[in-house]
């Protein structure tokens, strides 16, 4: 079976597990139920030769229900085709089953999603924060988290404070003033 043939037959293979299917410029995406992710992932890896998990990412659809989405990017080394799986996760129960035993690389990806978006992965062997430190009280990539950050303090570990935005992430104003005076931090109080 060639790659395009496999992709064409996926709707049939996944059957009733498909909630939604999207084809866009040769990219195939399936939305499936969070409860089915382990079964589908195992099937993809063992029977459909998707032996490479490129990435797992998460999306915050703030204001919609279900709020979160976890996106799995799969690749088949033998057939050279991509496949995207998506599961939607509600804010009330922000948890997905882990796939770190199916693709070991998922271990750190899932830790990153836990760290940045605050989605738990049930069955993960080592679900610690990976970028921020243990005890940091926020999930920085959630939409309600301000870009400049929020103050926090973990004695002897780390502290944070809000960055001075002064109108944007970095807004310098064209003028003949010196760099020192055009610098955003110079314009307003810290």
């Amino acid at each position: 079976m060639t790659g395009p043939e496999l992709l064409a037959s996926l709707s049939h293979l996944f059957g009733a597990k498909i909630r939604e299917k999207k084809e866009f410029r040769g990219e195939t995406s399936f939305v499936i139920d969070p409860g089915d992710i382990r079964e589908v992932a195992k099937f993809c890896r063992e029977d459909l030769s998707f032996d490479y998990l490129l990435d797992i990412s998460s999306v915050d659809h703030f204001g919609e229900e279900p709020r979160f989405e976890v996106v799995y990017e799969l690749y088949s080394m033998t057939l050279a085709i991509h496949l995207r799986l998506k599961v939607r996760v509600s804010e009330d129960n922000p948890a997905v089953d882990t796939v770190s035993d199916i693709w070991p690389t998922a271990n750190w990806h899932e830790r990153e999603i836990w760290d940045m978006m605050g989605l738990r992965f049930t069955g993960h062997p080592d679900l610690r924060r990976i970028l921020m430190w243990e005890g940091y009280p926020y999930f920085p990539l959630r939409k309600e988290f301000p870009l400049e950050g929020l103050p926090s303090d973990m004695p002897d570990v780390a502290f944070t404070s809000a960055a001075p935005m002064e109108g944007g992430p970095f807004v310098t104003q064209p003028s003949t003033a010196t760099t020192k005076d055009r610098e955003p931090r110079a314009r307003g109080p810290i």
Binding site: L131, M132, W133, Y138, P140, F145, P146, L147, E148, G149, L150, D156, V157, A158, F159, T160, S161, A162, A163, P164, M165, G168, P169, F170, T179, E183, P184, R185, I190
Partner: protein
């Protein structure tokens, strides 16, 4: 704190009385001037390389720019042997207390160069993750602008620091106890 030019340590040498045996081997100067001269010409940097500025720091140490011309080529990876911490790069909050800890481990006297926009002010990273300038944690002596600064800029910053060290009242301010003891004996 004396401010007039006369009270600053002088590097000017005075002629010794003629003696063919020691001629040329004796220099009269002030203790501060001698200490400062030794310190400023053998600054051992702590290379706190945290981002792309560290690449320019390495280039500064290498043959073309050759920071050894200013006596600062001995990059030590142990803070116990360092005089000047060159904070080269983005200081994240996760790294901030580690930088502070390394600074605390450096023996006195010690200086800090904030190299580049990130170390000086957070640079383009107005974000939850980045400390907005290492001067919030450490006493910075020299700020170097640039993103990243060229090696010439780092060398200029180092020379600024040398000028600052040359003007310090090293003996009287840093060896206060010894000065008091001498004064009580005299």
């Amino acid at each position: 704190m004396p401010t007039s030019a006369e009270s600053r340590p002088s590097t000017q040498t005075l002629p010794a009385a003629y003696d063919s045996k020691i001629e040329g081997n004796v220099i009269f100067t002030q203790l501060d001037a001698a200490m400062n001269w030794m310190r400023k010409n053998s600054l051992w940097p702590m290379p706190m390389g945290l981002a792309c500025c560290a690449i320019e720091l390495m280039a500064t140490a290498s043959a073309r720019f050759d920071i050894a011309r200013f006596g600062a080529e001995v990059m030590r990876f142990s803070p116990r042997q360092c005089d000047v911490m060159i904070v080269a790069g983005t200081v994240t909050y996760k790294m901030a207390l580690a930088v502070k800890r390394i600074y605390d481990q450096m023996p006195e006297p010690k200086w800090v160069i904030a190299m580049g926009a990130c170390a000086s002010s957070g640079g383009m990273y107005r974000s939850y993750a980045v400390l907005q300038g290492i001067d919030q944690l450490l006493p910075v002596d020299v700020y170097i602008s640039g993103c990243p600064p060229r090696p010439e800029a780092l060398i200029a910053g180092l020379m600024k620091l040398q000028d600052k060290i040359a003007g310090e009242r090293s003996f009287t301010s840093q060896k206060r106890g010894l000065v008091d003891k001498i004064e009580s004996l005299v």
